[in-house]
Symmetry: C2
Subunit: 151 residues, 2 copies
């Protein structure tokens, strides 16, 4: 139900949050997140235009989060690449329904609202801070990442 592009974007941003505030090259991100490099570059361009990340070209350049991981929610990222569009008026165009959705569409919209709320409540910092044995994107159990600058 979530597109592949959303999945890729989230992986990239979580990894950037893990490295924040340091910048990473798209190639490095692609390796860690196991996303096709050429396509990842497109996804990141989108994130860049949406203001989620900032990029710098040339030697020593790369991509970094535009804000701190504590300020960025999953919803911010999702909405940047493939916005969750709520149902605001009757999809059949029925006048009498209008803003008051019929029982069917009210339920569909409620589902969207739940997802939206869940994503809005979670920041990237929280994703990384969660006390669990498996660490986002990484094979190894929770250990503090330090330098790790090489390819």
């Amino acid at each position: 139900m979530f597109s592949q592009t959303v999945e890729y974007a989230l992986r990239a941003v979580v990894h950037l949050a893990d490295c924040a505030p340091a910048a990473q090259t798209t190639r490095e991100i692609a390796v860690v997140t196991k996303v096709p490099p050429a396509y990842l570059s497109k996804v990141i361009q989108g994130l860049c235009r949406a203001g989620i990340v900032v990029s710098k070209r040339g030697v020593g350049g790369g991509v970094a989060l535009a804000q701190s991981p504590a300020e960025l929610t999953i919803l911010d990222v999702v909405n940047a690449v493939e916005p969750i569009v709520r149902i605001r008026k009757c999809p059949l165009g029925l006048k009498t329904h209008g803003v008051n959705l019929c029982p069917l569409h009210r339920r569909l919209d409620n589902a969207l609202a739940m997802v939206e709320a869940a994503f809005a409540q979670t920041t990237l910092a929280e994703v990384l801070a969660e006390p669990t044995r498996s660490r986002p994107l990484c094979e190894a159990p929770s250990r503090k990442r330090l330098g790790l600058v090489e390819k």
Copy 2:
């Protein structure tokens, strides 16, 4: 986030539930639900193969629900045309994650689980019974549908 086909399928099935246990022609359903007739016929074929509806050809034929509206949930319909696929193992293929999803994918799967649960809890009968002024798919406020056999 829900595909157009899911939307179409739900409209069709809700209308059939409203007419249950009578059968309706796809053309009639297309008019009421405002779905492109030719495409609706494809969607209904899918519902038929999934066992959600049954169809009969020829004069007096049409499509009807396979079960009573009280036994059919929104989830049944959704899963018939575009199954909600839960995240059961690490999408990156990380061995150490396996079934224990990392914090990121755990949250994504939780969102899917919430939607799945919400859809599983609602039967078509409940959608139709809801005391509200706007009636599913229909312009008019709640009035009991009777004959209405003509085109």
